[in-house]
Amino acid sequence: MISQLAVQGAQMLAVLLLAPLLIGFVRKVKARLVRRQGPSLIQPYRDLVRLMRKEVVLADNASWLFRVTPYLIFAATWVAAALVPTFATGLEFSWTADLIVIVALLGSARFFQALAGMDVGTSFGGLGASREVMIASLAEPAMLLTVFSLALLAGATQLSTVAAFMGSPQVGLRVSLGMSLIALVMVAIAENARIPVDNPATHLELTMVHEAMILEYSGRHLAMIELATFLKLLLYMSLISCVFLPWGLDSGGTGPKSLAIGVATYLCKLTVLAILLAVFETAVAKMRVFRVPDFLGAALMLALLGTLLLFVSRSL
């Protein structure tokens, strides 16, 4: 019991501490790919500390909701990230929530973020919020349908069970799994506001989505939101790696050696995924906002097709 709790606590802390490093690594690789030196790996930590030290500038008419939201977003994202198996499955509290709950927790975070964007009443906030809910209204069903596919294959929506099933030899190569993987990656790109859906490094009115919503935030509030954004990227990478690269996962209570293997393989998976993300982002261009529905519609159709195939034939 105690050791289980310790592993759970360690994972919660680990995701929190790793998340900025992951972002720093992606930025570094992206910079190197275009032959820039790039900021140091720990720059995101420095940014967070700097933001924490700065004063908060609030708009005159900002309400309590605006001040509470950063903590809510952070809490919901952190809880969601802590429930995804990273280096070990079958954690003490993993049965608290299944994959559907994790998707919905991220939905809660987004709900409050969009509301906070509309709180001050500037055009940018409304613009960001309205585009964000449009993207989410397509990304969320695509994500849920992907969850359905996985759940139908593994016979469970519980992530630990899904991961164990995907690691077992009975899974094999399946068409619907491939479709789910593509859909999940497309959703992950959209949800994390990465290129080509959104560009986290720009403040250009025509294209902003995520940045427009949080434009009014500053200081410690912005630090919380940034940290939540970092956590979300880590969450999606953990999710993809635990479902589609389920090797080396510690299955709970098997001793320090297997835990060490779990941690080492987890870090390797994150590195590979981060490099892939950086390469992809460097290779493609940002698309127009109203092309995004086509992109996500394709994800939705792929996910639906994958689920349909599974319903119709359990062997595909």
Binding site: R53, K54, R110, T122, S137, A151, A156, T161, G219
Partner: protein, 671 residues
Amino acid sequence: MNSTVALLLCGPAAFLATTIMAAGASRLAAATRLVYGATLVISAVLLATAAGHLAGNPGEASATLPLGLPWTGARFRLDGLSAFFLVVVNLGGTITSLYGLGYGRHESLPHRVLPFYPAFLAGMNLVVLANDAFSFLLSWEFMSLASWALVMAHHRDEANRRAGYIYLVMASFGTMALLLAFGLLAGPAGTYAFDAMRTAHPGPFAAGAVLVLMLLGAGSKAGLVPLHAWLPLAHPAAPSHVSALMSGIMTKVAIYGFVRVVFDLLGEPAWWSGVAVLLIGGVTAVLGILHALMEKDLKRLLAYSTIENIGVIFASLGLALAFKANGMPSAAALAFTAALFHVLNHSFFKSLLFFGAGAVLTATGERDMEKLGGLIHRLPVTSFVFLIGCVSISALPPFNGFASEWLVFQAILRSPELPQWGLKVIVPAVGGMLALSAALAAACFVKAFGITFLGRARSAAVERAHEVDRWSLAAMAVLAAFCLLAGILPGFVIDSLSTVTLPLVGERMPVQMAQPWLSIVPIAESRSSYNGLLVFVFITISASLAAFFIHRFASHALRRDIAWGCGFPDAVPAGQYTAVSFAQPIRRVFGGFAFRSRETVDMPAPGALEPARLKVEMHDVAWEIFYQPITGAIDFATERLNHLQFLTIRRYLTLVFLYLVILLLVLALWP
């Protein structure tokens, strides 16, 4: 006669007595308090009785009164299903009466509301208790007419008169369908008692016809697409607490009627009945929420969102039918419990949201979101509880809407075991539609809360607004607490529903309250589990930890300043995003097929001084496809038949004679 049923029947009698008292005394100043106080007490007693029956699980009880048709009498019966719906009706009645104590004082025409309000409650109670077709239909019509009178309370408004007219036509249509359905169920023997119908199983063709007629009859009252056209007109036209009753409770009574006939009286369902109900439910959910997204009238937005939730409930009922038809009682119990849980949840948050809209209406006199904004500063408590309602209805954890939608998704994941190909293809598609409608619901309520309560005030009325009275606030706070409680303790609700599901689908969900940490585990823990309580605790702890950490180690400095307006000083509130512009991206994605919408940009020539204009053209497709041809045909026929009014007496006699001859011929040729 059973004492519980007798007590429950005294309730409607007491409501009717209140109606008579209200009709006499409605012009007195104290009438408002008197009527709502009386309905509050009566509903609370009925609620306690029904809840006691549901919890105590003493089986069925029935009673026959020497009323109604001379040779049948009026039969009433209380079982698990009716006890559950009595709880929903009277919980809604109690809290609405509490709200009415405060809200009713602002009513400009109390004598048009007070007499009908208790009558409406009486009608809904009687529908749920009725045990023969005659009392059922009579109570149903009584409920419809009482609510129609409440819709017409402010009949000087042209829009309300139109709403009332359409409501009346649709209600009559629905009752006609129910009448025919009961006629088929009664068979040639004419057994109007439900007990007799339950044992007489109709043939497959008759059963199919009954299902279609129930979808038309109960579905038109509940708001299934395409029979929903009256709902977004009529529900908002009534005073807000009555809107809450109509949207939150009366639609549930319609669902009760559907469940009573299709799950109870009709016997074993055919597998394709599940397909029909599932498809209609899924389409209703998506179209309802898309319409809601396009609305800028707060109460109409809520009415359209009711249509979405009805769609979710019907989809879940369709799943239950499909499972039941294929002999999978445990899966049917899961889907059926999910549907009933959503019934309860929707009655909570929809009442809460309509109360909130009523509070906004009282404080500002506005329903149009484009004239609201910034109310979070003027109505702090109302905005907080309205926010809880918005989070709950958007199916976000840890609130109640999520718990029931989660159960629906779990039920969908049981459906690959279904043998029929039709179901195998339909169920994942409907699952996708439900996921889409859940995501769109979140978008819709970001808009509803964001435009109404956040941002800057868009009219002077908002700047003068004051928080509403304590009765209304208390009613809303109670509902908000229920939303949270049902979300973090879903196991309690699921276990209470076991007495309802067991007789109707032959199985119940496993006992949930015995699970460690109060999780809910619908099938097996390795398969899926959800613990709303722990999710709530975890979020609270991590948010508090973060806040503590920040306040301990980070800077405390805070400066208030004007928001950056890109260099334009004195930004006008009209420059904010509006309800219409907020929905614009979604309209561009979904509007093409849902509304056949078209946008045209009217650009003036270079140098011309007139402004550029963006014109949006949208169609209510259901109205154009289903209603316009029918009204057109009726108009055409009445035009043609009109000259029959101006015949001479000889021609009338000829017509009568011809009719007689045809009638006799038919009788002679009838085999």
